[in-house]
């Protein structure tokens, strides 16, 4: 049994009013520990609503949510405890910064957990290093930082709680390509170093494809599929029909294969594509020789 599991999870907004809307419709998922998963779906497909169930911010209309084998809302007094196991980074997390210094802001979560000052200090130093914040930034006001730095501070604030599952909702929204690469890079590093479960919510296939190993596709409040990258992208036509796209570079290489160029690799990122092209060219040179 995985670390995150749902059983027939359903959530309805505005029950009993004319604005009634089913946001999540009997979702069954089971996410294994240590996995890095992308949750993808176009706007309004229910992904943000789904993830808010994982740490008990929303109570399911019906169905059950299990975190680390324990059912949420079975015992209300345990809710806070379980909430610390699942770290949730919201969209535009930099809007939630409030402390006088970066250090204090990152400390907010760990402090709420009731950790000792020494432990809090250790965690702050560690996460600051992980997200690439230099030590002199820690004593600055978070409001003096640049947009990308602010976002990294906000992400560090959740990482410092050392949750068993880290969920990030559109962590790259509104960033320039460099900022985006940096955030995605640090998420990958974090996963590699800590080995904890990471869920990355996005509507950008490009972002998800090069960061995660498995993909959960949401469509119309339901789970369309949950599988590894290549089998998801193999259904490119269906994805396009629901307003999602396969990464450009993957499409290019699918075409190349269709044109008769032989290779076994699945291509999801530009860097990988570059290496592959160079390798294929070298092989071809050899054949010619």
């Amino acid at each position: 049994m995985g670390i995150l599991r749902t059983e027939k999870l359903t959530y309805v907004y505005g029950e009993g009013t004319p604005f009634r809307k089913v946001a999540v419709d009997s979702v069954d998922i089971d996410i294994a520990e240590g996995e890095i998963v992308g949750i993808i779906g176009h706007t309004g497909s229910g992904k943000s609503t789904l993830i808010q169930h994982f740490n008990g911010l929303l109570k399911p209309t019906s169905g059950k949510v299990f975190v680390d084998g324990e059912e949420l809302f079975a015992d209300k007094s345990r809710l806070k405890e379980i909430r610390f196991k699942v770290g949730l980074v919201f969209q535009y997390p930099e809007h939630q910064l409030f402390e006088e210094t970066v250090y204090k802001d990152i400390a907010f979560g760990p402090k709420n957990m009731g950790l000792s000052d020494g432990e809090i200090d250790r965690r702050i130093k560690e996460t600051a290093r992980l997200v690439g914040l230099s030590p002199d930034l820690l004593e600055k006001s978070p409001f003096e930082l640049s947009g990308g730095q602010k976002r990294r501070v906000a992400i560090a604030g959740v990482m410092a709680m050392e949750p068993k599952v880290l969920i990030l909702d559109e962590p790259t929204a509104g960033l320039d390509p460099r900022g985006r690469d940096r955030i995605l890079g640090l998420i990958k590093e974090y996963h590699a170093e800590k080995g904890t479960t990471v869920l990355l919510v996005s509507h950008s296939m490009e972002d998800v494809a090069r960061t995660v190993s498995k993909i959960l596709v949401m469509n119309d409040a339901k789970v369309f599929m949950y599988s590894d990258r290549s089998s998801v992208f193999a259904r490119a036509d269906e994805l396009t029909a629901m307003g999602l796209t396969v990464p450009q570079v993957t499409r290019v290489f699918d075409r190349l294969r269709a044109m008769g160029i032989e290779f076994d690799d699945e291509v999801f990122s530009i860097d990988y594509a570059k290496d592959l092209v160079l390798r294929l060219l070298k092989e071809r040179e050899k054949k010619v020789d």
């Binding site: 740490n55 911010l57 909430r83 919201f90 809007h95 939630q96 409030f98 907010f108 709420n112």
Partner: protein, 269 residues
């Protein structure tokens, strides 16, 4: 949830009350309030009730909504009621225990005051039920515009009100988001002493203020980019025009006011 908060809820409709000129509706509300405060006897207040009921029936707003508008002010009604009950010591004594004395005058004033407050709230909420906030600020601007002669910034004040109203839902949504985010970081806003709960508001209020200022700056910039420079020489899409029904409505209201004055004189209670 916090999203359920609504201020000045507007019910779109096409009844005669909806179609009245908003300036006239403001005037009618003022006449109605005067009616309630001039009334000294229950019969006179009854005339106010009749006026209110007729307006509600004409507007097509369910009576249920009228009662709903009273709900938030029940504590105020109870408070004034109890104050009146215990602190008026004239008239026949109905009940006495140690220093507590309840008199006939006290009971009468309590009921009278409670009725008056309820009528006041119902009447004014009918105004907001049938007039969209934008139209209402338009009307306020027009009513205040003669004061421009003495440099009173009528247009600017109306614009500020419009912007404030426009951003209430946005800010509510924002608060909701920030609350969820801080809760996810383990913020506890539901338990503990009052002091602890007040402290727990800091992580919500600071980001909220920061974003409100940011929004204000962006909006100001966007308005300047579109050459907004105050009210001078601005024309409007929807001109306010009075129709015969508006004058009729005012006439009816004045008749009711007269009835209240007459009833004050001649009614027994």
């Amino acid at each position: 949830m916090i999203k359920d908060i609504t201020i000045g809820q507007f019910f779109p409709g096409n009844s005669i009350v909806h179609r009245l000129d908003p300036r006239i509706k403001l005037l009618l509300t003022v006449i109605y309030i005067v009616m309630l405060f001039v009334a000294d006897t229950f019969c006179a207040l009854g005339a106010g009730v009749v006026f209110l009921l007729i307006s509600f029936l004409l507007s097509g707003i369910p009576i249920k909504m009228m009662l709903k508008s009273v709900k938030p002010i029940v504590p105020i009604i109870l408070f004034t009621g109890i104050l009146n009950l215990f602190f008026i010591s004239t008239g026949d004594i109905l009940f006495q225990w140690k220093f507590i004395r309840i008199t006939e005058d006290g009971v009468r004033t309590m009921i009278f005051m409670a009725t008056r407050i309820i009528l006041l709230i119902c009447g004014t909420s009918l105004l907001t039920y049938t007039t969209s906030p934008i139209t209402l600020t338009d009307a306020i601007e027009r009513i205040l515009s003669p004061l421009k002669v003495i440099k009173f910034p009528a247009h600017e004040i109306a614009m500020m009100m419009t912007i404030a109203l426009r951003f209430i839902p946005t800010l509510i949504e924002e608060t909701d988001k920030i609350m969820s985010a801080q809760k996810a970081r383990g913020a506890d806003m539901e338990t503990g002493s009052i002091l602890k709960r007040a402290k727990a508001l800091i992580p919500i209020l600071i980001p909220l203020f920061v974003s409100a200022f940011r929004r204000a700056e962006e909006l100001a910039l966007a308005m300047e980019c579109r050459c907004y420079h105050g009210g001078d020489g601005r024309t409007r899409l929807k001109q306010l025009k009075t129709a015969p029904r508006d004058y009729a409505a005012v006439a009816v209201a004045i008749l009711f006011l007269a009835a209240v004055i007459v009833l004050n004189r001649f009614s027994p209670i």
